[in-house]
């Protein structure tokens, strides 16, 4: 499953760091944090998708505490 979320991220460097952090999570097929379109696109297996999404949000908050992701 592949889905996009609106993601408020303030700087391009942070976006790159978030992307890297999410891609390191086990079970993530691909993740993109797009600073230009302010979107997070996450692809992972259906059955573990929700867990991975949670982990991804946590990973983002770790990089930038202010970042907001609409789910």
């Amino acid at each position: 499953m592949k889905k996009s979320y609106k993601c408020e991220v303030d700087c391009a460097n942070c976006a790159a760091k978030m992307e890297e952090a999410i891609n390191k999570i086990d079970g993530v097929k691909s993740a993109r944090v797009n600073f230009m379109t302010q979107k997070l696109t996450l692809e992972a297996d259906d059955d573990i998708y929700d867990e991975i999404l949670d982990a991804a949000v946590k990973a983002c908050k770790k990089v930038e505490p202010d970042c907001e992701i609409e789910i």
């Binding site: 700087c11 460097n13 790159a16 230009m36 379109t37 990089v63 505490p65 202010d66």
Partner: protein, 637 residues
């Protein structure tokens, strides 16, 4: 401005006012006589007001193991300033950092908004016609295939469909960049994203919203910034090393000179702080992708979809342009242009009549053109005998043509090979185009010449492409050599390769790729049978034919209205974008390096350092915005 930005703005205004008051008070000497802890606290309060979020983030990030982000750097730099007793400097640096950040996010937000504005083709609603005839506003995503929609004048067509009722002009410019409205009538196809201009249309949807042209385009353009160019990747990698290296430099600068007794500790710390402030790579990390995003936005405004920054980068370096002939340079519409009688006894009408009879079951474009010509002839002249149904035993000889019988006599309709194989004496034609020879009863009776028409403006498009910097234009075609040469000469092509099968085209492009040691090879095709070649070339450009899926899928760049005149436009946009990006990289790095140098020798102030960080970023962002600006002259000149 978002709420967050407004809050920051108010904080900045308040602290700025306080800062000015403090400066005045300090200047008239009111702080003299106060002990340092008191002055420290006086400055610390506004410092905390303006910088608390930076400090907070810095602490959180350190606890997460994220050192070296800009918050941390600002914190260390300003703490350093406090430590050496430069209280007003510390407050000023934090204040101007925040002002810069605000400008930066405002500028980025603005440019992001104006780029998305360029692509404001998404429909907000669809008017679904209910059984009772009333139209109800519905979310386009909820509309199923086969639903009747009402489109009033001035409204966007939300979903692809077929006109059931009505007759109107639609503005396709948002999709194709073509400003002349297109007329649609009953039975005609309409594409989402176009605007209905003058009268009410009823359409039946043929696709779901997510498969409609508009959402496909949006998805494509949005994802385009995910495919990063070499330049962007370079900057990302560069940023990863730049900050730590400069920070280590700062530490060394703070520690070594005082140990060696070269300068007092306070001086070296001040210089180190300047290093820390300049060590943020923001200017580059934001302005580079923003420039590419702008270039992609500008292209999409013209009806050119670029699928990634990397392709924009590649097309800017195009030195060889390879074009497919049919459907790209020519319209792909075959027409009978000439009929030549072998002798005066058999009329032109009879020749075409026999040929059309033989070809009547074929769907080949060449055959269709003969049949159409024949039908046209009959429509205009009732007196013509219609003997074309009397042909029997119609047989197709692959690669040769067709044989049949007409009242006992053998009929041959085909190419040179067919007549030679049957030992029929004939006069070979040297006319350009596709040639059909017709023979009746072993006697050659005539020749039919079929040609494809060259697109209007093809010659100008090719000369524009050359002006834009492409040095070699090559044409590939499956057609015969003569037909290819005539077209090539008319439009100004440098090299022609004819009689190629699809596999030969791939081979040809591979050879061109191998021969081409400077620049990139771009291939332009209509996307239906050229998919392998589109994939193989450095940049594959396809004719989108208003939403042809195969083309959009295989290509890197899609010309939505099949106009090859757009190729020079996209090359120019790409070159401009790259030039802007390079300007930004050179500008930002040279300012930063200059400030680092001046800081090391003690000439630069912290104010200069703040400019080197956020000021440079704002200027670079403003410069990047130019990438999305496009004018008519850019396209034609």
């Amino acid at each position: 401005m978002t709420r967050k930005m407004k809050k920051t703005r108010n904080r900045i205004i308040g602290v700025l006012a306080a800062f000015i008051v403090l400066l005045i008070v300090d200047h008239i000497g009111l702080f003299e006589g106060l002990s340092w802890p008191v002055i420290f606290v006086i400055y610390l309060i506004p410092y905390i007001v303006i910088g608390y979020d930076v400090l907070r983030k810095a602490f959180i990030n350190i606890s997460h193991g994220q050192v070296f982000d800009e918050n941390f750097l600002m914190m260390i730099a300003t703490f350093g300033a406090f430590a050496i007793g430069e209280y007003s400097e510390a407050l000023a640096v934090m204040l101007f950092y925040q002002i810069g950040e605000l400008f930066q996010s405002y500028a980025v937000g603005k440019s992001r908004a104006s780029i998305t504005e360029l692509m404001s083709i998404a429909p907000e609603y669809a008017n679904v016609i209910q059984e009772n005839g009333e139209a109800v506003e519905t979310d386009p995503e909820e509309v199923t295939i086969g639903t009747m929609l009402l489109i009033k004048p001035g409204e966007k067509i939300p979903i692809d469909g077929i006109v059931v009722e009505g007759d109107s002009f639609i503005d396709t410019s948002a999709i194709t960049g073509e400003s002349v409205p297109r007329r649609v009538t009953e039975g005609g196809e309409v594409i989402s994203g176009c605007v209905n201009k003058d009268s009410v249309l009823k359409i039946r949807t043929t696709k779901n919203y997510e498969d409609s042209t508009v959402s496909k385009i949006l998805e494509l353009v949005e994802n385009a910034s995910n495919k990063k160019s070499r330049m962007e990747n370079f900057i990302t990698r560069f940023a990863r090393y730049y900050t730590p290296v400069v920070t280590i430099g700062a530490v060394l600068l703070a520690v070594i000179p005082p140990i060696m007794g070269l300068m007092p500790f306070a001086d070296s710390v001040k210089r180190a702080c300047i290093f820390l402030i300049v060590s943020c790579p923001c200017a580059l990390v934001i302005s580079v992708p923003l420039g590419f995003f702008g270039g992609i936005g500008a292209s999409s405004k013209l009806g050119i979809l670029v699928k990634g920054s990397n392709y924009l980068e590649a097309i800017a370096e195009a030195s060889t342009l390879v074009l497919d002939k049919t459907g790209t340079i020519t319209k792909g519409e075959f027409k009978v242009t000439e009929i030549i009688q072998a002798n005066a006894e058999i009329s032109k009408e009879e020749i075409i009549c026999i040929a059309a009879g033989a070809e009547k079951f074929s769907n080949h474009p060449i055959a269709r053109s003969v049949i159409e010509y024949h039908e046209e002839l009959h429509k205009n002249n009732d007196a013509l005998a219609d003997d074309n149904n009397e042909l029997t035993e119609i047989k197709e000889v692959p690669g040769h043509g067709i044989t049949a019988k007409l009242s006992g006599e053998d009929i041959y309709v085909g190419n040179v090979k067919l007549l030679k194989a049957n030992n029929i004496a004939f006069k070979e034609s040297d006319k350009p185009g596709t040639i059909i020879y017709v023979a009746k009863g072993k006697v050659f009776i005539g020749t039919i010449i079929i040609s494809d028409t060259i697109k209007e403006g093809a010659a100008k498009s090719i000369s524009n492409v050359k002006k834009a910097g492409v040095s070699k234009v090559v044409m590939l075609t499956g057609d015969n050599d003569d037909a290819a040469r005539v077209v090539a000469d008319k439009v100004g092509i440098d090299e022609v390769y004819s009689q190629l099968l699809p596999a030969d085209k791939v081979e040809r492009v591979e050879k061109l790729l191998a021969d081409n040691n400077s620049g990139k090879v771009a291939f332009v095709g209509d996307g239906i049978n050229d998919a392998p070649v589109l994939m193989r070339a450095d940049v594959g450009i396809a004719m989108g034919s208003m939403g042809s899926d195969a083309a959009i899928e295989a290509a890197d760049i899609v010309l939505m209205d099949d106009d090859i005149g757009k190729i020079s436009a996209v090359i120019k946009i790409a070159r401009k974008t790259l030039a802007i990006v390079k300007e930004n990289i050179v500008f930002a790095l040279s300012v930063k390096i200059l400030i680092l140098f001046l800081g090391a020798v003690g000439i630069a102030t912290m104010w200069m350092a703040v400019f080197g960080d956020v000021g440079v970023a704002v200027l670079a962002i403003l410069n990047s915005m130019r990438a999305m600006k496009w004018s008519k002259e850019d396209m034609n000149g």
